[in-house]
């Protein structure tokens, strides 16, 4: 087993265990920490195939910015309480989801197994093993920069526009609107919750009546 394969498998275990942790951890903060584990593993996988620049921005943008944003929102909103995984809102949805995921995995693996070689046209420029005039290998960052600022320069400019729109949209949506907030319309779920609460209340009242205690006077005491 070559060193490349060994590093790939080691990082692969980190990536997959982190991904499973994201799905299974009850607390959103723990899920975010498992996500960081996965993202660092992916950065290592990038390094194995010499995508140095992508490995760097994987750590800086994903682990350094996106997950921190997640943690900020989790702590800002106080939603870090554990989700009860035993409650199943739609009967049979969870097993169906797992079957669907397994079928998707089987399908993808079948496609990979049945494709024996890489086909398709290659771009005319931008080979990863390109060299400069003196025959020295070009660094990955230089190659990526040359490709982005020549072949993909329009897409790069549109990217700048996209980021501007996203930032403006986030500020507009998250800002505090003056005046009282309108409550969101009631949903069927709210109605069922209120009905359940009322049923529990009337049940308690009946129990109290059975015991010979007046509910109203008990409340006043």
């Amino acid at each position: 087993m070559s060193l490349q394969v060994f590093t790939f498998l080691l990082a692969g275990v980190i990536v997959v265990s982190g991904a499973i942790g994201v799905v299974l951890s009850k607390n959103p903060v723990h899920a975010a920490l498992f996500l960081i584990q996965t993202l660092f593993g992916v950065a290592v996988e990038f390094l194995v195939v010499e995508a140095h620049f992508l490995a760097a921005i994987q750590v800086i943008v994903y682990a350094g910015a996106i997950v921190i944003l997640f943690l900020f929102v989790i702590m800002l909103l106080g939603v870090d309480r554990a989700e009860d995984m035993r409650v199943e809102p739609i009967i049979g949805q969870r097993p169906a989801a797992i079957v669907t995921g397994g079928a998707l995995l089987g399908l993808l693996l079948a496609v990979i197994a049945s494709s024996d070689s890489l086909t398709g046209g290659r771009s005319q420029k931008g080979a990863l093993d390109a060299t400069d005039q003196l025959g020295a290998p070009l660094p990955n960052v230089n190659q990526l920069a040359e490709s982005i600022f020549t072949d993909y320069v329009f897409a790069f400019e549109v990217t700048g526009l996209l980021l501007t729109v996203a930032v403006v949209g986030a500020v507009v949506m998250a800002r505090r609107i003056p005046g009282a907030l309108q409550p969101l319309p009631r949903t069927a779920l709210d109605a069922s919750r209120e009905a359940a609460a009322e049923a529990a209340l009337s049940e308690a009242a009946e129990d109290a009546a059975d015991d010979g205690v007046d509910v109203d006077s008990a409340g006043e005491v």
Partner: protein, 102 residues
């Protein structure tokens, strides 16, 4: 085992993508659902980088660059929506958010 091929990356990407898809369907917390979307995007990035290496072409890495930018924009807007919803009501599982009307 032998030498590393691009197929290793495709298999790892398929596994992570499936885990992310199951998580997206199973979990109720919108923040955790976003994290599962990030997992799926990272799985696709893995296949892009693996194929760029297999085909000896920088184009796959450029695609990953743009995917990362779009993922960052998506997270910013999505989390702003979650914050806006949580300002108005307590508890925002995906079951609570069946009404789109503001």
């Amino acid at each position: 085992m032998g030498e590393l091929t691009h197929n290793y990356y495709l298999v790892l990407g398929a596994v992570v993508f499936s885990i992310g898809a199951v998580g997206l369907l199973v979990r109720r917390n919108p923040l955790v659902m976003f994290m599962c979307v990030e997992l799926m995007l990272n799985a696709v990035n893995l296949t892009f980088v693996g194929l760029a290496w297999g085909l000896n072409d920088i184009g796959g890495q450029v695609a990953v660059f743009f995917v990362m930018v779009v993922a960052a924009a998506e997270v910013v807007v999505g989390l702003a929506i979650v914050v806006a919803i949580m300002r108005r009501r307590d508890g925002a599982t995906s079951d609570d958010l069946s009404a789109l009307r503001g």
